[in-house]
Symmetry: C2
Subunit: 305 residues, 2 copies
C-alpha cells in the first residue's frame, strides 16, 4: 500500500514461469496471459482496491513464436479489462523459460487496504467465488482428460470475482485474501497474521460449492474410472476416493482466486458464510468441523492413487 | 502513467535474468539487487517522477543459497532508499535461472509524465550522469581485469542521478530517457518518438565526461596491453584502438542510467548541453558532428580486437 499524492494505491506482483505455473501444450497463449493477469488482479482485489493498471515483465527464448507473445499480451489485456484495468507498461527480455511478471496497481479510493492481519474473534468467515475447480481441472489434464470442460477451462483461465473485493471493503471486511494456494492454506495465512483460529464448516462449504460439487464428483468419478486407478479396487473404495478427491479439491485446491474474507458486520452480496473466527487453540490455525485441518494431500487414498 | 484518486503515478518494470544481465561470479548479491533496482528507479526518474515504491518478483532455483537472496533484497532496499523509495511488496517463485523483476512507482506530484515523444526542433539536448563507465567495466571484467575499480564498480552497481529527473521536469524538459541501451540508441528512441533529428557534439560529450575520459583511456590502454590484443600491432594502431574504445563506450555503452533530456527553456543544474534538436534528415535519427551516428561496434578496429 502506498500514497501517491492524495491517492492511495495497493500494489502487488505475481511471477509465472513456464513448466512450473503453466504448460504451453495445456493452455493457449491467451489463456496463460489471462491467468497471469488474474493472479495479480485478484490479489489487488483482495486488498479491497479497484484494479487500475498492470505492468508486465515478459521473458522468452528466441525460439518462442512471436504470435505466442502477441496472443499472451492480448490475454493479459483482456483479463485486465474484465477487472476494469489497463496494461500501462512493460519490459521484454531474453530468458530460457517463458516468464511473466505481472504487477498490479489498484486504487484504494481513499480507504485503507484490507490486510490479512485484521480478523477479530467473533467475525464470520465468508467466501466468494469457485472452490476446487482449478485443482480438479489440473488433475484431469495430468491424466490426459479434457473434461468436464468447465473444470479444465477454469484451470486454464480462472474467473476471479474481482468486483467482490471493493464490495467487501465497503462492508468493512476485517481481513481478506484471494485463494491462490488453497482454502485451508490461505485461511491459515489470515489466522497466523491475525493470531486467531478460523473454524470452517464442511457442510457450509458444500452448500457454497453448490452445483460445482456435482462437477467435481463427475471429475473424480472419471479419474477413478481410469484403468490405473480402479485396478482391483472394490466399489466401496472408489466411492471413498471420489469423496476424498472432492474434499481435497475444495479444501486445498489453489488458483481459483476466489476471495476469503472476515466480517464483523453484515455480509455483502455474493459472499457465503462458511465459518467463524475464534481464539487460537494450540496456536493460530484452521479447523474444519472442529478438527484441525489436515495438510493438502493428507488423505491416504488420494496419495496412493 | 496513471491516476490514483487525485494522484498521478508513473509506473515501469525491468526484468533481469542471470547469465544475461548479471553473473554471480562477477557481482555480489547486494550489487545485483542494487543494479536491478537502479534500472527501474532510473526509468521512473526519467519520466520526471519521484520514485516512491518498488515491488519485486524474484525467481530462483532451490540450489540458490538463502543468504544470496537475502543480500540481494538488501541491495534492492538500499538502492530504493538512495532514490527515496521503499520496497512495498513482492513474490517469490521457483525458476531455473535467478530472475529479478522490479516494478517501480513514482509520484508525478500532479505533473504530466515527461515522455520520449515531446522533443521539439530548436530544443537543446543535455545529459546528466556518467557515460561509458559501465560498458568499460564490463569489457574489463570480460578480459579478466578488475580495474580501474571505478569503472568495474560502476558496471556492478551503477549510480543514476535520480534527483535530476524531477529537476528536469521542473525545468519543463520536453522529452527524457534514461540511458540503458547506450547514448546513441536511447537518443534515437527520443528522435523516433518525436520525429526529429538529434545532433550530438563529440567535443561537448568529451567535456561532459571530463575526468572520466582519463579513466576510460586507462581502461582502453589496459585492454590494448593484453597479449592477445597487441600481438604484432604497431603503436599507432594501439593508439587508434584506445581512441575508438573510448568513443564506443561513450556513444554506445549502456547501463550507466544517466538521464538524457531535451529542453526549450533554461538547462537545470547538473545537466550538460551536448547537442540540439533539428528537423529530420533522411528520417528521424541521431547524428554526431554532422555525420549519421554509427551503430554500436561499428568500428573495424574495435570489432577485430
Amino acid at each position: 500500500m502506498l500514497a501517491i499524492g492524495a491517492g492511495r494505491a495497493a500494489v502487488t506482483v505475481d511471477v509465472l514461469v513456464e513448466g512450473r505455473h503453466f504448460r504451453r501444450d495445456w493452455s493457449s497463449a491467451q489463456q496463460v496471459g489471462a491467468k497471469a493477469a488474474a493472479a495479480t488482479l485478484a490479489d489487488v482485489a483482495a486488498m479491497g482496491a479497484a484494479p487500475v493498471a498492470l505492468v508486465v515483465g515478459f521473458g522468452a527464448p528466441a525460439s518462442l513464436p512471436v504470435s505466442w507473445a502477441v496472443d499472451c499480451a492480448a490475454g493479459i489485456e483482456a483479463e485486465a479489462a474484465r477487472a476494469g484495468a489497463h496494461v500501462v507498461g512493460g519490459d521484454v527480455t531474453a530468458s530460457d523459460a517463458v516468464l511473466i511478471a505481472v504487477t498490479g496497481i489498484g486504487d484504494l479510493q481513499g480507504r485503507g487496504a484490507v490486510l490479512r492481519s485484521g480478523a477479530q474473534v467473533g467475525d464470520r468467515v465468508a467466501i466468494c467465488g469457485r472452490l476446487g475447480w482449478s485443482a480438479a481441472g489440473l488433475e484431469l489434464l495430468r491424466r490426459g482428460l479434457t473434461g468436464p470442460t468447465e473444470l479444465v477451462d477454469d484451470h486454464r483461465q480462472p474467473q476471479p470475482p474481482y468486483e467482490a473485493g471493493v464490495r467487501a471493503a465497503f462492508a468493512r471486511a476485517t481481513a481478506m485474501i484471494d485463494i491462490s494456494d488453497g482454502l485451508v492454506a490461505d485461511a491459515r495465512h489470515i489466522a497466523q497474521a491475525s493470531n486467531v483460529r478460523i473454524d470452517l464448516s464442511w457442510s457450509a462449504l458444500l452448500a457454497h460449492v453448490a452445483d460445482g460439487a456435482e462437477l467435481l464428483r463427475d471429475a473424480a468419478s472419471l479419474l477413478a474410472a481410469q484403468p490405473t486407478a480402479t485396478h482391483h479396487q472394490p466399489e466401496v473404495v472408489v466411492r471413498d476416493w471420489v469423496r476424498d478427491w472432492v474434499r481435497e479439491w475444495v479444501l486445498h485446491g489453489g488458483e481459483d482466486h476466489g476471495l476469503l474474507a472476515c466480517f464483523s458486520e453484515a455480509i455483502p452480496a455474493g459472499f457465503t458464510v462458511i465459518g467463524s473466527v475464534g481464539p487460537p487453540i494450540q496456536g493460530a490455525g484452521v479447523w474444519v468441523d472442529e478438527q484441525p485441518a489436515q495438510q493438502a494431500g493428507g488423505h491416504e487414498h488420494y496419495r496412493s492413487s
